[in-house]
């Protein structure tokens, strides 16, 4: 039973790193997928910018955010889509849960939570790494205010990077809960569908959070949903800065800790059930 105690699982970083590397190389070998992704996301971003341009021109006074900030937000969103799309789950993990293969996973000397976490990080990062650069490169050269503009100085760049990493970790910690719920329910389709639609909408993937009605917006800013892509992108674009940025990064930290701890706890409980049932 000792082995299943996750908090005491040996955490040698090296195996996670080599795990990460393998996943990364596998991702790199899909070259045409990467180019196709760049093309698609660029087109998508372009159309989104044009759409908001129509709204801006219809009534500029109702626009809740600078147009150039919005453009930066949209291009970051497209460039880093692979990192932040919530619906991207690892089918292998679900398969191992439903088929009972998870029992074998438990035999490896890695913490299962940490391993799944790294696996998800690697898959998303390897997809995003290839796609982001060309999209951002093109977006930089688009005429103002339709392209991406650099952040307002070093401080907001640093805050953005911190917040980006935290946001990414919060997203994965959240998606871990979906995997864990599958251990309990075995069929995860229902939870997955509900969670995906809700998270996508509330995290500002469909329309940016500043465009939400004011009352709702104030609440959502404090939820883990806004802590994913919205906070870093808005910090980058200068829509959020100074004390507010620091405060929202604090919110991200709190959610990361909460989701992470809850995930580890729920997982160890779920795994106890697995071992009690004998797989």
């Amino acid at each position: 039973m000792k082995r299943f105690n996750l908090s005491k699982a040996p955490v040698g970083m090296k195996k996670y790193l080599s795990f990460f590397k393998i996943r990364f190389i596998a991702g790199l070998s899909y070259r045409s997928a990467a180019w196709a992704g760049v093309f698609t996301q660029f087109g998508w971003g372009f159309m989104t910018v044009l759409m908001f341009k129509a709204f801006y021109e219809s009534s500029p006074e109702s626009f809740p955010i600078l147009f150039s900030s919005l453009s930066s937000y949209i291009w970051l969103q497209q460039a880093l889509l692979a990192m932040f799309m919530f619906w991207f789950f690892d089918g292998e993990i679900f398969d191992s849960i439903t088929s009972g293969g998870i029992a074998y996973e438990l035999c490896r000397p890695c913490g299962l939570y940490a391993m799944w976490f790294v696996k998800n990080m690697a898959a998303r990062l390897s997809n995003a790494a290839l796609r982001s650069v060309p999209i951002l490169l093109v977006a930089v050269f688009l005429p103002k205010p339709y392209g991406i503009s650099p952040p307002d100085g070093i401080l907001s760049a640093v805050l953005f990077l911190i917040s980006l990493i935290l946001g990414f970790l919060v997203l994965i910690a959240m998606s871990m809960l979906i995997y864990i719920s599958a251990i309990y329910t075995l069929s995860s389709a229902g939870v997955r569908i509900l969670a995906t639609s809700a998270v996508e909408f509330l995290s500002g993937a469909i329309i940016p959070i500043p465009f939400f009605p004011d009352g709702l917006r104030a609440v959502i800013e404090l939820t883990p949903f806004a802590a994913m892509q919205s906070t870093p992108f808005l910090i980058y674009s200068g829509h959020i800065d100074g004390d507010k940025a620091v405060f929202l990064i604090g919110v991200q930290l709190v959610w990361l800790a909460a989701l992470g701890l809850f995930g580890v706890f729920a997982m160890s409980r779920a795994l106890k059930r697995v071992t009690v049932q004998g797989g």
């Binding site: 698609t40 759409m51 129509a54 069929s187």
Partner: protein, 258 residues
């Protein structure tokens, strides 16, 4: 045709075997398009109109596109899921049967659960039809029907094009999403709001505006030219070059066997 219905019956029966996942997918499709609706709702609460189009007008536009897309996705799912057919080797089996390839692909799959979006489209129509200021005479109703039907054919053509590309590249297929999912998403608004260039692209290259924008102008009374209502029929011709491309891909498949 009799054979087509036989296939359909078979596929429906297969789907009913998995009632739970059927309902889940149905619900999922509904929720996804519901959040798109919520997005439009929030934005129009703030702006009220976009380039003079009102919320109910936009809903008419959105729901007709969504209805077309989901119907096409239900019935032409075989083309949409075609890459899997190639990967699993089922295409070889299709080639071993003495019937047309396109016919067999069409009948290889049917996804009734995709109608979740259709449900959303119907709800939006019910909301928007009395509120958009259109006097629903027979010719207006016919226009809406032609728009939806023309849309089904254009989306089907796009799925065929997608299937055609999968003969050349499977992993690179993602770019076609811009023209299938993308048209569904950006077709929420009349295509003219994106500017002249985009409208031209979607008129002359991919004839989406022919069923989405021009007949819509006539429908909501922004133009009196009745000929606009017939443009979806012209748009449907798009299915010909797409089928030709599919055939080209099939020929390539037969010479490389992969």
């Amino acid at each position: 045709m009799r054979l087509y219905f036989k296939y359909l019956r078979m596929l429906v029966r297969s789907q009913l075997e998995y009632r739970e996942s059927f309902i889940m997918t149905l619900l999922g499709q509904f929720l996804v398009s519901f959040s798109a609706f919520l997005g439009i709702y929030f934005i129009l609460m703030r702006f009220h109109t976009v380039r003079d189009y009102t919320f109910p007008e936009i809903l008419i536009c959105f729901s007709s596109v969504l209805a077309s897309f989901s119907l096409a996705e239900c019935f032409a799912r075989g083309f949409d899921a075609f890459p899997r057919l190639i990967k699993s080797g089922s295409l070889d089996r299709i080639l071993l049967r003495p019937r047309g390839v396109a016919f067999q692909v069409l009948t290889s799959n049917l996804e009734l659960s995709r109608a979740g979006r259709l449900l959303q489209a119907i709800f939006m129509l019910i909301y928007a039809v009395p509120r958009c200021g259109v006097v629903w005479t027979a010719d207006k109703i016919a226009t809406l029907a032609v728009m939806i039907a023309g849309g089904v054919l254009v989306f089907t053509a796009l799925f065929i094009l997608y299937a055609g590309f999968s003969f050349f590249t499977i992993e690179g297929l993602e770019f076609m999403n811009l023209f299938t999912d993308g048209v569904r998403e950006f077709g929420q608004y009349p295509l003219s709001i994106y500017g002249e260039g985009v409208l031209k692209l979607f008129t002359y290259v991919i004839p989406v505006a022919l069923f989405q924008y021009y007949p819509f102008l006539y429908l909501v009374g922004r133009s009196d030219d009745k000929r606009l209502a017939l443009l979806p029929i012209l748009g449907a011709v798009f299915i010909l070059p797409c089928s030709l491309f599919f055939r080209l891909g099939l020929r390539r498949y037969k010479s490389t066997g992969s």
